[in-house]
């Protein structure tokens, strides 16, 4: 079989290739949705379909029309960044007709609060976090904290009330006898508005040097380093974790 002087092998392979190509084109026509690629690498119809879904969230502005007292409280609290429906669930139907749907009112321990406040190492430092099984066990969160203004009603008496994880870590380390104030200076306002008055960290190597420098006036069992030669470009806590220096 020779066509226009083209070798037999090539003609046969070309037929095979044409069949494969034809099957691909047919499959494309059968399986690719018609609106695919109109607005990007997806089915354009999907946007219309999503837009037609019933609206389930009302948005917090409409809530304030009836619940203005809670809204006022929330607006001035640490929860000012949250929308009502974050805790109370989708409430569009309730906003439409308040008898048609009762929004969620999470009161049980761990029902809503822990989604944000359970301890996770990747959460930002200073963000209020608790370990659920250790933080006032069996007590519902709303027993002490008003969710619309969650600042604790009583000013914490010790650092461990908020920084329990650090306190426990320190308790099993050689630094257990040190108080937080040994290394940190915290203004009294830190207990009321923690993030507006952040405590400081040691900014000089001499802070650790008070106990660990050669010739320091401290117990003989405390490890010593020569501050001039031991990692001179860094602050101590950039390499050693002061709450658990053995780690």
């Amino acid at each position: 079989m020779k066509l226009w002087g083209i070798a037999d092998q090539v003609v046969r392979l070309a037929i095979l290739l044409a069949i494969v190509g034809g099957v691909t084109v047919a499959l494309r026509a059968r399986f690719v949705p018609p609106s695919f690629g109109e607005t990007g690498h997806y089915r354009a119809e999907a946007v219309t379909i999503a837009a037609e879904l019933p609206v389930r969230y009302a948005g917090s502005e409409i809530c304030a029309e009836c619940h203005d007292d809670q809204e006022e409280l929330r607006r001035r609290s640490y929860h000012r960044g949250l929308s009502c429906e974050v805790c109370h669930g989708a409430a569009a139907a309730h906003a439409e007709d308040f008898e048609a749907q009762q929004p969620l009112v999470p009161r049980a321990r761990g029902e809503a609060c822990l989604a944000c406040h359970e301890y996770l190492p990747s959460r930002p430092t200073g963000f209020p976090q608790i370990i659920e099984r250790l933080h006032n066990p069996l007590e519902p969160c709303v027993g002490c904290h008003d969710p619309h203004d969650p600042t604790p009603p009583e000013v914490p008496s010790s650092c461990a009330a908020c920084h329990a994880q650090i306190e426990r870590t320190k308790a099993v380390s050689h630094h257990l006898a040190l108080t937080c104030e040994t290394c940190h200076e915290a203004a009294p306002e830190h207990r009321i508005e923690p993030r507006s008055h952040l405590p400081n960290k040691p900014t000089a190597r001499e802070a650790c040097g008070r106990c660990h420098a050669e010739g320091a006036d401290s117990g003989a069992e405390i490890p010593r380093v020569d501050l001039d030669t031991h990692g001179p470009r860094y602050l101590c806590w950039q390499c050693h974790y002061p709450h658990h220096p053995e780690a």
């Binding site: 070798a7 037999d8 092998q9 392979l13 494969v20 691909t24 399986f31 996770l120 190492p121 990747s122």
Partner: protein
């Protein structure tokens, strides 16, 4: 299920050092993703070896030419399976052909793969075997006759012009095939090298390093298969061919080692912020797989063994065994190269402050047994291919056209 998972996380948790983010404890790419670059490397390497004979006219390696092509095909057919098993939903893989995404390197793999399979490897094998297939089908009876006839696609012209055309076509396809093989495995290196957030992977040298390690692994695989096949067939291996294969293996190994050293020195000299954690990674979690297995057992060992056996006056029997052992060690080394790239790149935290650990599962779709199965499969396919398309010189039908 959730309990088991938590238990597993807990055991991993004890082996974490330093600080890592919670989603970094478990590795997302496991043993199956190690297999993928390993197998594609073998394909590209075996093909490049085959091209030595056709393009660079290295006559000594002719006995392995057809075997290399079939090896490349057998491994290429298995190459996407680890990925399909890892991702789940294999039926969705066809969607990358139906709705191609040109900006996604991963989505383009289907096209790189299809180009290499259909327009390079299968075409070259078809042209190379066509005349023999016609002759075999003339002599045979029953299903074999039908099978061989079907593979010829009915192209039964055995005239000297037609056979000469086949050879020309093979030559042309090999010419296209070399950059295609580079593309196939360079692409795999590119996938890792272009992850700019991962300092262990992100390097422009990655595709080149992958390519040369592919050449090393392909040559050594064909050497192993050729040696074992001659033993099984109770023949004496062609010593000139084995010597040449060993020489090429040695040269490729030297280039590969130099490139890896260059990459290493470059990283050390650049000394970016990640260098601390990467040094820790090398001396702790990767010490055995990198220093001991990849460098000492898999690179320096075979280098010394090949140099010594190639340039000494050893008796051929001993030489062959030495080449075979060196090739096996190279395979172990290249597998750990892939391991160190894929697993190593996920063992350190993006915070650059801690390391996690990887323990492959035994059973399950991502487990050790699946991987072993996937490594055996290409040899089964190769066995079938060798039965259907014998690559041995004796099997080739006489080149003279049959009498009318």
């Amino acid at each position: 299920m959730a309990g088991e998972h938590l238990e597993r996380l807990e055991t991993l948790h004890d082996q974490i050092s330093g600080f890592i983010y919670p989603n970094e404890i478990e590795l997302h790419w496991g043993l199956l993703v190690v297999l993928y670059p390993y197998i594609t490397g073998l394909v590209a390497g075996a093909f490049i070896l085959a091209s030595l004979e056709k393009v660079f006219k290295v006559k000594e390696v002719e006995p392995t030419y057809r075997l290399s092509l079939l090896t490349a095909l057998a491994f290429l057919l298995v190459a996407p399976l680890p990925l399909l098993a890892h991702l789940g939903h294999p039926e969705r893989s066809f969607e990358i052909f139906l709705t191609p995404h040109f900006k996604s390197a991963m989505a383009m793999f289907g096209f790189v793969y299809a180009w290499y399979l259909m327009l390079v490897l299968l075409l070259e094998i078809w042209f190379e075997y066509r005349a023999d297939l016609v002759r075999w089908s003339q002599r045979e009876r029953g299903p074999r006759k039908l099978l061989h006839w079907l593979i010829t696609l009915g192209s039964r012209d055995l005239s000297p012009e037609a056979v000469a055309f086949d050879q020309k076509a093979v030559h042309a396809i090999t010419l296209i095939g070399i950059p295609s093989a580079f593309l196939l495995h360079g692409y795999v290196g590119f996938i890792f090298g272009s992850v700019k957030a991962n300092p262990w992977w992100s390097s422009v040298l990655m595709p080149i390093v992958f390519l040369f390690s592919a050449i090393v692994s392909g040559i050594s695989l064909v050497l192993i298969i050729y040696y074992v096949a001659t033993l099984v067939r109770r023949e004496t291996p062609d010593m000139a061919c084995l010597d040449k294969l060993a020489s090429f293996l040695l040269y490729a190994l030297i280039v590969d080692l130099s490139l890896e050293l260059l990459d290493f020195i470059h990283r050390l000299y650049e000394s970016e912020e990640s260098i601390g954690i990467l040094s820790e990674l090398i001396v702790s979690k990767l010490f055995i797989s990198l220093t001991i297995v990849q460098i000492i057992i898999g690179t320096v060992g075979p280098l010394l063994l090949l140099t010594f056996s190639r340039f000494s006056q050893l008796p051929p029997e001993l030489k062959r065994v030495a080449y075979f052992i060196a090739a096996l060690l190279v395979q172990v080394g290249i597998f750990s190269t892939r391991w160190n790239v894929v697993i190593g790149g996920q063992l350190f935290s993006k915070s650059l402050r801690g390391l996690t650990v990887y323990k492959p599962e035994l059973a399950g779709i991502e487990g050790l047994f699946t991987s072993i199965g996937l490594m055996i499969l290409p040899f089964v396919i190769l066995y079938v291919l060798v039965k259907v398309l014998p690559p041995w010189p004796q099997a080739a039908a006489p080149t003279a056209p049959p009498p009318d």
